[in-house]
């Protein structure tokens, strides 16, 4: 009998091992897929019970998002509230159980929700710490954002301001915006609004950049040694480019003109010729160095960003076969037309303003624990050296002339030198609208701020220099300390 008893024990040992194996299966091997199962309400319930971290503006005091608790004991739940209303809707986004998350609330969710790894949570358990969200301090500037919203004055468009040396995003405004506090009650309405208030025009919309793209062309041409600021080029109008006549703005004919003067006066025929000299391959290569053809390296959800670049008539990105002369002046044709997001154009200005060094753009400054310890500080991160420092310096001087005496005088600040470039793309089926642009950085000697401003579908005749430049001026004033 004893032999059978031992065998029976062995059988039960195997059966119990099977129980451990299956418990391991659910707790370890399939734990993630179970946690992600749409019928698993635990993450949602869990999330409601944890106060999410506060999101602060760059001053570390102004609350852009915080959680408020309701109920008592085990029934206490937290919901998100946005004290600044619609002002920071696009960079911050929202987080609600029923509607999900957007923007920084999504890209920084793990920190905000206080999600820690297995060992961290073990120690938290031993120390008796309650799980709670971490605070996020952003780089967003309240006064600059207010100035941008005031400047756009309800017109659809976008303003992006970036610190060139650090990549800190100080302003990311897109109009129209929505009130994140209304998301739970008016989600459908906001989603279905034909004006697309949920679209972040700074990162999710591409516009023809017009003459602001001449900065990219100039950078490519000078860095590759094709021209220098004093090169003299024929600025007559019209001029045949790719077999089709191209005219300067207003049909003005400049005759032989220096490259510097050509930028100051935004001479299309000069830049189209320079573009043809540079060639398609070099052009595309420099565009890629500026960050075109990829999502901006921003700490932002990737589905809320799209790359800028040259798109053909079907809406596909192309790197060859396009009319490089027309692309060089911010236009193009069916084979390929240049399109850029406001974020991308701000990065172009920032890269030139930082001596050719393009820094990765950042919304987050730091992630801070509730006891004040810093969990993570976002350090400046070089994305690429776009052009040689001397080339960037020369281009900066040329762009200074644009604001001093050229098309961008409306952006001039008293006491601070501004370097900029205007742009005015014609849009609409019959070119009945314009897309005014202005990109800039200041002060020229040691740039502390770069900016891009654009406005959608303005009445014909609206120029970048007259419509967009004044907005850039007021935002720069707010960010750099007024007219000091």
């Amino acid at each position: 009998m004893n032999r059978q008893i031992v065998q029976l024990f062995a059988l039960f040992a195997v059966l119990f091992a099977l129980l451990i194996a299956f418990t391991s299966r659910w707790t370890v091997f399939e734990a993630q897929s179970l946690a992600d199962n749409p019928n698993n309400r635990r993450p949602l319930i869990e999330e409601q019970r944890i106060p999410r971290g506060i999101i602060y503006a760059s001053d570390g005091e102004t609350e852009l998002a915080r959680s408020v608790g309701r109920g008592r004991g085990n029934n206490r739940i937290f919901t998100r509230t946005y004290p600044q209303g619609r002002l920071f809707a696009h960079p911050i986004g929202y987080s609600f159980i029923t509607n999900g998350r957007r923007s920084l609330e999504l890209s920084r969710n793990e920190d905000l929700a206080g999600q820690e790894d297995e060992f961290e949570s073990l120690f938290a358990g031993l120390e008796g710490r309650e799980r709670e969200g971490l605070d996020v301090v952003t780089n967003l500037d309240v006064a600059g954002t207010q100035a941008a919203v005031a400047g756009l004055a309800g017109r659809k468009g976008s303003v992006v301001a970036i610190e060139p040396q650090t990549g800190k995003v100080r302003v990311m405004v897109s109009i129209p915006e929505y009130d994140p506090n209304l998301i739970p009650s008016a989600f459908e309405q906001i989603n279905d609004d034909p004006n697309q208030p949920d679209l972040n025009r700074a990162t999710q919309e591409l516009y023809p950049p017009g003459s602001t793209f001449k900065v990219v062309t100039a950078a490519a041409a000078m860095d590759s040694g094709k021209v220098n600021p004093n090169s003299v080029i024929d600025g007559s109008s019209p001029k045949e480019i790719s077999g089709v006549a191209l005219a300067n703005s207003g049909g003005q004919s400049f005759g032989p003109i220096s490259f510097t003067d050509a930028l100051t006066n935004s001479v299309n025929t000069v830049f189209a010729q320079v573009g043809e000299t540079v060639g398609r391959n070099t052009m595309v290569e420099y565009m890629k160095r500026f960050g075109f053809y990829q999502d901006p390296g921003l700490d932002y959800p990737s589905f809320q960003m799209i790359p800028s670049g040259i798109l053909n008539g079907d809406g596909d990105f192309v790197t060859d076969g396009f009319d490089v002369g027309r692309v060089a002046i911010g236009q193009g044709g069916l084979e390929g037309e240049i399109r850029a997001s406001p974020m991308q154009m701000a990065l172009v200005a920032a890269a030139i303003g930082n001596r050719g060094r393009l820094m990765r753009p950042r919304l987050t400054d730091s992630v801070v624990r509730k006891d004040g310890r810093i969990k993570e500080r976002v350090e400046p991160d070089l994305q690429s050296q776009v052009v040689k420092p001397e080339v960037a310096d020369r281009l900066a001087q040329m762009m200074g002339r644009v604001v001093e005496e050229g098309t961008g005088t409306a952006a001039a600040l008293s006491g601070i030198t501004v370097a900029g470039k205007t742009g005015t793309a014609e849009v609409g089926a019959n070119r009945e609208f314009t897309q005014p642009w202005f990109i800039a950085f200041a002060p020229v000697e040691e740039p502390r701020m770069a900016i891009a401003v654009t406005i959608e579908r303005q009445p014909a005749g609206s120029q970048g220099g007259t419509v967009a430049a004044p907005i850039a001026k007021s935002v720069l004033e707010a960010l750099l300390g007024g007219g000091a």
Partner: protein
């Protein structure tokens, strides 16, 4: 060191666990500390020490590890139940008192377990009556389609918990007597013609059946194993007269499927029966015949009794999102949120626990708006809550504690000197181990989930009391076996 001193030392980790467990639960809800909270722990430890002193007086040589292991399991259960609902923990502590009274009464009344043999038919009849009581009108109660409980006024109890003890006592006694005459092996081999007849005819018949009927691979294997085992049994000249009561046990298991409609307890009973049959006779062929007959019957009822079938559907297809009318709520929902809800929540809870768990008192049990996220958290699904709170490591420790208890049970059977003692200890241990397997296997989706309790851990008076009696019987057998060994100067 004497056995009882070892037992006392064994209670040390139990007291540490109780103290640490309650402290952990308390710190996570400082809001509702009352002076009564820690008393459950103190009362529980007091009871353990009293029981220890009682065993020291009455069963000085009995196995020193079984009681501390059971106390450890009880302590885990009490902490987790306290964490789920303080009121239930109070009741559970009361049930432990009642359980210990039964424990002591068993030890006092059954001085020698051999007297149980005298009443075996009475015990068997009583057990069958107990099993069928939940179907009696007026006192029976149905839960989730199964008839497991009876209600007598305010008291509700699950007779199957007690019936399992009675059936094991009966089987141990009956098999002790008949094991040797159930089969009468031939001394000389059969003549060739008879051999051909005995093996050839069934093989031919099986082949024809497999080819003729559309049984599918599982059914075919079942049939082949059945016929092969049956032939092996017949070759050894079974005594049909003595097989009668054993067929009755099979019939009882089938009856339980029909009347009580519970696959879990049916599996538990029949598994215990097969274990005893094997240990008593040493014939795998009998296990083969028995298990194929059980599986065949279970398959038949699975396709014909809707309650059993839905349990199996739920097991195989837990996360199905097909929509249909939910029988319990009457609303149109997805399968996973109706039939599959319980097992799905069990798995979600375990996944949430991970390797180390969320910590005592930290698992998510309630919905924010009120109501329970995990159904039957304190009874059927208590293992899921334990995994959620103390993780895979804690659960492995718990299963390890059960395995040690089972080991001590079989060790007792090995040390015992007579057939009845051996079979009784084996049967009691096997039925305990099977119960653990059935419920933990159910909540971890090894087998279909059916409602049996986790011994010593789940909330429930019947379960605590019945398992305390089971423990008492094991200790009585152990006392006899070990004291005799010690007297003869042997090692134990």
């Amino acid at each position: 060191m004497s056995a009882r001193t070892r037992e006392l030392f064994g209670l040390l980790p139990v007291s540490l666990l109780v103290a640490a467990g309650f402290a952990a639960v308390l710190t996570t809800r400082t809001a509702d500390v009352s002076d009564a909270t820690l008393t459950y722990g103190a009362v529980f430890l007091g009871l353990c020490v009293m029981a220890h002193l009682f065993i020291r007086a009455r069963l000085p040589d009995a196995d020193p590890y079984m009681f501390p292991l059971a106390a450890l399991l009880g302590a885990v259960g009490l902490v987790v139940i306290y964490r789920i609902d303080a009121e239930l923990a109070r009741e559970q502590a009361q049930w432990f008192v009642v359980g210990l009274v039964f424990f002591a009464a068993t030890i006092l009344l059954v001085r020698d377990h051999h007297i149980l043999e005298r009443y075996r038919y009475l015990i068997a009849a009583g057990s069958i009556v107990l099993l069928l009581m939940p179907r009696l009108p007026g006192i029976g109660a149905q839960a989730n389609g199964a008839f497991l409980a009876i209600k007598l006024g305010p008291i509700q109890f699950q007779p199957a918990e007690f019936a399992k003890l009675g059936i094991i006592i009966f089987l141990a006694s009956y098999l002790r007597e008949t094991a040797d005459i159930l089969l009468r092996p031939r001394l000389r081999p059969l003549p060739l013609t008879r051999q051909l007849l005995l093996f050839g005819l069934p093989a031919l018949a099986t082949l024809l059946l497999v080819l003729g009927l559309d049984l599918g691979p599982a059914g075919s294997i079942l049939l082949v194993v059945f016929v092969a085992s049956l032939v092996a049994v017949v070759r050894e000249r079974p005594s049909l007269k003595h097989f009668g009561p054993l067929l009755l046990v099979w019939g009882l298991a089938m009856l339980m499927l029909i009347f009580i409609r519970d696959l879990g307890s049916s599996l538990m009973f029949f598994g215990g029966f097969l274990a005893l049959l094997y240990v008593a006779t040493g014939r795998l062929s009998l296990v083969g015949v028995g298990s194929t007959m059980f599986l065949g019957g279970a398959t038949f009822f699975a396709s014909n009794v809707s309650h059993v079938r839905s349990r199996i559907d739920t097991w195989l297809d837990t996360f199905s999102t097909r929509r249909g009318v939910c029988p319990t709520t009457g609303e149109v929902t997805e399968f996973v949120n109706c039939q599959g809800y319980q097992i799905a929540q069990s798995l979600f809870a375990q996944a949430d626990g991970g390797l180390f768990g969320q910590g005592f008192g930290r698992a998510l049990l309630d919905l924010p708006g009120g109501g329970r996220l995990i159904p039957a958290a304190h009874t059927d699904l208590i293992y899921s809550v334990i995994v959620n709170e103390i993780g895979l490591f804690g659960a492995a420790g718990l299963i390890g504690a059960y395995l040690l208890l089972v080991f001590r049970g079989f060790k007792t059977a090995l040390l015992a000197n007579d057939g009845f003692s051996k079979l009784l200890a084996t049967g009691l241990t096997a039925v305990l181990a099977l119960q653990v397997f059935v419920i933990v296997g159910g909540v971890t989706r090894v087998i279909p989930l059916t409602g049996v309790t986790l011994p010593f851990v789940s909330y429930g008076g019947s379960s605590i009391v019945a398992n305390m009696v089971l423990l008492a019987l094991l200790l009585i057998v152990s006392e006899k076996a070990r004291s005799e060994r010690l007297r003869r100067g042997g090692l134990v």
